[in-house]
Symmetry: C2
Subunit: 383 residues, 2 copies
Amino acid sequence: MTHPYDSDDLTWMRRALALAQTVMYTTAPNPRVGCVIVRDGRVLGEGATQPPGGPHAEVGALRDAQARGESVAGATVYVTLEPCSHFGRTPPCVDALLAARPARVVVALGDPNPLVNGRGLARLREAGIAVTTGVCRDEALAINAGFMSRMSRGLPWTWLKMATSLDGRSALHNGVSQWITGPEARADGHRWRARSCVVLTGIGTVLKDDPQLTVRSVATPRQPRRAVVDGRFELPEDARLIDGGEVIVFTARADAAKAARLAARNVRVVELPGQEPHRVDLPAMMRWFAAEQFNEVHVEAGAGLSGALVAAGCIDELLVYLAPMLLGEAAGLVKLPLLERLEAAPRYEFIDAERVGADLRVRARVADHWRELMRRVELPTLS
Amino acid sequence: MTHPYDSDDLTWMRRALALAQTVMYTTAPNPRVGCVIVRDGRVLGEGATQPPGGPHAEVGALRDAQARGESVAGATVYVTLEPCSHFGRTPPCVDALLAARPARVVVALGDPNPLVNGRGLARLREAGIAVTTGVCRDEALAINAGFMSRMSRGLPWTWLKMATSLDGRSALHNGVSQWITGPEARADGHRWRARSCVVLTGIGTVLKDDPQLTVRSVATPRQPRRAVVDGRFELPEDARLIDGGEVIVFTARADAAKAARLAARNVRVVELPGQEPHRVDLPAMMRWFAAEQFNEVHVEAGAGLSGALVAAGCIDELLVYLAPMLLGEAAGLVKLPLLERLEAAPRYEFIDAERVGADLRVRARVADHWRELMRRVELPTLS
C-alpha cells in the first residue's frame, strides 16, 4: 500500500526535481536524480547524482545532512527516482537509507532498471519505512525520459529539433537559413544538445553546411557525441566534425580502408544496412543507441533524414523553434511519403509553448510513446 | 498632470476591461467600453457599451448605480476609453459624469476620435475631478485595435487567420484540408469572426470551397458582413454566401448587368482596380473599409490572397492555429514574392500562444503597426 501525499510533498518533490535539473548535462548514462531530506519543514540535507562513479543523489543528501550535523532518523526523504538496491559502480542507496532510518521515503517514479524495479521500495517497506510513490511523476519522467526509455523499451528518447518560419520554412529557395531564429533560440537549442547523449544529423547536412555539432552557446563539462547517417559512406575526411571527439557514422556499407583511417581519428563506423540499397536501417540504429547506453538522441537534420525518422517511428518528440516571420515558397521541414488522408499524418500532442527571445519554442510528443513509457515505469503493486 | 495609479486601480480597470469583453460582438462601429464605479472598495455600478444608439458604458454604470440607490459623488470611475464629449447618437458621457460628481476618473486610453481626443478629460479636469490615464493601456488597445486604427490611421485592424500543421501546410497535395485543426480551434476561429466587422476571402476559396463565411460555432446577435476579392468578377451567382446578408465584392472591373442582379440580392459590388490587370487595389480596399466604418477585418483566404495582403502591408496580425501534426509536401500557407535575403521577410512579434483543444493558437502582430497605433492614441499632454 502506498501512503497518500499532500501539498508539502509536492513542494519538496519539486525541490528535488530542481536539484535533478542542475545535473542535466553530467550524469549520463545514469539518470538525473535529486534528493531532499526534510524534518518539520526544515531541510536537513540535499543532493543530486554526481557523474558516473560518484555518489548518487540519496547518498549525497545523507552526506550533506551528516556534514551539517543533522540526524536523518525519523525524517522524510524525497527522491525523484526509486533508490537503487543493487551494486553498480556504487553500493546500493537503499542500504544507506536503511542505515539512516528515515520515517518515510517519497519517490516520484519507480526505477525501470530490471535490477531495481520495485525492489528498492520493497526493502524500505519491509524495514517499516513508510513509502509514498507517484508524486510529480510526469515531471520526473520528463527529466529522465531517455534513461527510462532505454531501460524499459530498449530505445533512446529521441527529439527532432527544427527551426522554422511561421509558415513552416527552414530556408529560402536559395538555401539561406542563417539565421531564421534569434540568438536566444539558438542558445536554447544548444541546451538541448548539451543534455543529449548524441547529436545526430544526415550526410546531406554535413556536405552542405559542414557543421561541428558541438555544444557552444552554453557551458557544459561534457560534450555529447556526434553521429551521422551516411548510407553511401560519403563522409569527407576533412569534415569539421572530425575533431578528435567521438563521432559515429552509420552506413549501409563501409569501405574498410576509409573506416580504418577514420577509426584512428576517433570515428566509429557502424554498418546497419536497411531494406533499400544505400539506406541505413533507422530503427536498428535506435536500438544500437540504447544498447550502447545512449539515453537521449538530439536530431538536427535536413528534410530528408528528418522525414525518414518520422516516417520510421523513430521520433518521440518535436522541438520546434518558430520564428515570427513568413517566407513563402521555400524549403520545407520534413520530407514524408505523400499522404492521401489527414488521418495518415504523423500526430503529436503539444507539451508546451514558450517564448525564447523573439521566437516561440513549441514542444510536442508522440502521445502513444509517452503513454507506453509511463505505463512501463509505473511501480508494481506491492502486497 | 496625470495622477499616479496603484494596484487597486489595476484591479478595477481589469474589471472594466472584462465588462468591455462582454460586448465584443455587438458595439461596432462603436468601440467596446467597460465602466466600473467604485467607492471604498465597493462597486456602486457598472456598465458596458450597448449596441449603436444605446447608452455608452459610463451612462450604463451611472444608471446602474442609481438603480441600486447609490450616490456616485466622491467615487472613482474606471473606464476603458476616454469618455466622449460630443453629441453623436447619444449625448456626451462627460456631461453625465460631471453631473454625478465623482472625485476621480481613471481611463485606460484616450479616444482618437478627432471629436473627442483629450477634450473629454480636459473638461473633467476643469471641473476639479482628478484624472488618471494609461492604466492597462495595452489590454485596452487590444480590445479596440480596430476602432482605434480606423480613427487614427484611416485603416481597419486586419488579422489573417490560418490553420496549419506544425510544418506549415494548410492542405494535403490532393486538396484535403478538413479538418487539420480540431473542433475547439474551429470554434475559437468563429469567435474571431464574430468580433470582426467583415470576413474577407478570395474568389479562389469561393470557387473551391463555396463557404458561407458566417459565424456558426458561437452565439452572436450580429453577423459580420462577408467580402470577396474577385478581380475578374467571377463570383458564381449561386454561391452559398449570397444568402440575403450583406456581401461586398471587390473587383477590378464590374459587369453592370451582373452587378445589378447581385445588388438586388444584397451584394454590393465595389470597383477598385489595381495596377496590374484583373487585380484589386488591396490598400485602397482597406481604406474603403475604414471609410465605411469597418473596424476589424478577419481574413480567411488561400495562399494567393493571403500572400498578396501580406506583401501589400495590409495585414496587422496573424492568427495561426497550429495542429500537432506533420504533413510533408503539400499546400503552403502564403504565396509571397521570392525572397533572396532573410532580412526581406515579413516579420512579426508574438503576442501569445495558447492551447485550444489539441491545437495551439499563436498570435503575432506587425510590431511597427502596433507601435504606430499606440503612439497615435496616446493622450496629449494637458497643461
